[in-house]
Subunit: 269 residues, 2 copies
Amino acid sequence: MRTDAAPIGVFDSGVGGLTVLRALRGALPSADFIYLGDTARLPYGTKSAATVARYSSQCAAALRARGIGCLVVACNTASASALNELRREYPHMPVVGVIEPGAAAAVAASRARHIAVIGTEGTIAGGAYQQAIHRLDANVRVIARACSLFVAIAEEGWTEDPIAEAVAHRYLDGMFAGPQMPDTLVLGCTHFPLLATAIAAALPPAVRIVDSAATTAAAVAALLGAGPCTRGAGSVRWLATDGAARFARIGSRFLGEPLSAADVEIVDL
Amino acid sequence: MRTDAAPIGVFDSGVGGLTVLRALRGALPSADFIYLGDTARLPYGTKSAATVARYSSQCAAALRARGIGCLVVACNTASASALNELRREYPHMPVVGVIEPGAAAAVAASRARHIAVIGTEGTIAGGAYQQAIHRLDANVRVIARACSLFVAIAEEGWTEDPIAEAVAHRYLDGMFAGPQMPDTLVLGCTHFPLLATAIAAALPPAVRIVDSAATTAAAVAALLGAGPCTRGAGSVRWLATDGAARFARIGSRFLGEPLSAADVEIVDL
């Protein structure tokens, strides 16, 4: 590890952001990461914007105190509610959220100029994807729906499962009906990539799925180039605010590799 | 309202405890209530026992400061983790949880001396129902399972629904199989009474369902007799720690009557 290397900080309300970390590690295999799951206060998705912004600021401060050189807000709710404030607090550090990359990928993918977005209640009600898409192209039609049950299904591990498919049909059939239907679906929650198979099975075949974890990782890699944050030893340091055992058990599924509770440090924010 | 009347404080991590409040209002129609939903920090079910005990102590203090004369811990996780501590903190005030009444009703109902318990991850892993049942009768067999998806389904309102039934079968079929199966099922989460129809449809017909909301209300009514807490004007004061609109919208379903966001006071604990 070079002495000028700085780790990349990644935070989420829990384990969902591990899908983003997984994509980041694939895109930047030599980077060092510090992941913080604010598990004591999850989920952010049902909380008010002011509360989420305050929690996000505390997460960012805890990571900054550990020497990070770049911050990835791996949580849709926090990206929607806190990104501008975090950029003001850390004007000299790159701060990347998951919404702008996902919105850009969706606008690029949609030929019909009609995009569907799914996420948690907080993300959808806040309208951040809808606004980010319209900032890029005001003429794109956007429809959005909160799919709260997908979070519980992903955490339960029922991901390639008839129940997951039935729930996907219940949420999506109404969005993808009729001749004017969207041709692109944004997975606007970091839990949802685990359900990509069930979601795809419920969609008409021509619909493209935009995974905001993958698009965020690509955006971070492009932004950092060959800078100090990309030159490390490929390590990850694990922080959580509560429940190391649960974090490791459910997190392993999101990360796609085993995670040990003994490696998770509990921090108080 | 008589001048010696004191309201009954009821708290939960969110809206689930409203099923307990609903049962309490039915059992004690003249009592005044103060309900506190700690919505900023929900759910308690995935948090550690120490964290839940700390949050519960803060909820109790907020209610005590508003003059309550009796405290109902309308949350299974908090009842499991915090009841003893709360009783130590308030030695002169009745403090009732939802676990002991449910356990007693189940032991009374089971002829097979074999009881099944379902709840959140935290309640089941903590083993509080299992222990409470064994304190009453050490020879009763108890099997338990966490049914996390039921919470999300209840909040989504998909309560009498094929998806709810499919999920109920997934969770329950393995518990109610074979000749030695339980004859009693305890709904060990305050969200679950909303799913009683779907749960009953997935059970063998002879199985009795014990609803801990109803049994807790009966226990509180018996404990208070005709004391000052039962002599009020039948009013309810609403407190939440975040998200008045969501609390009112989802809470109405749990309470069984309309609830207005304008009537919900946001408090900081």
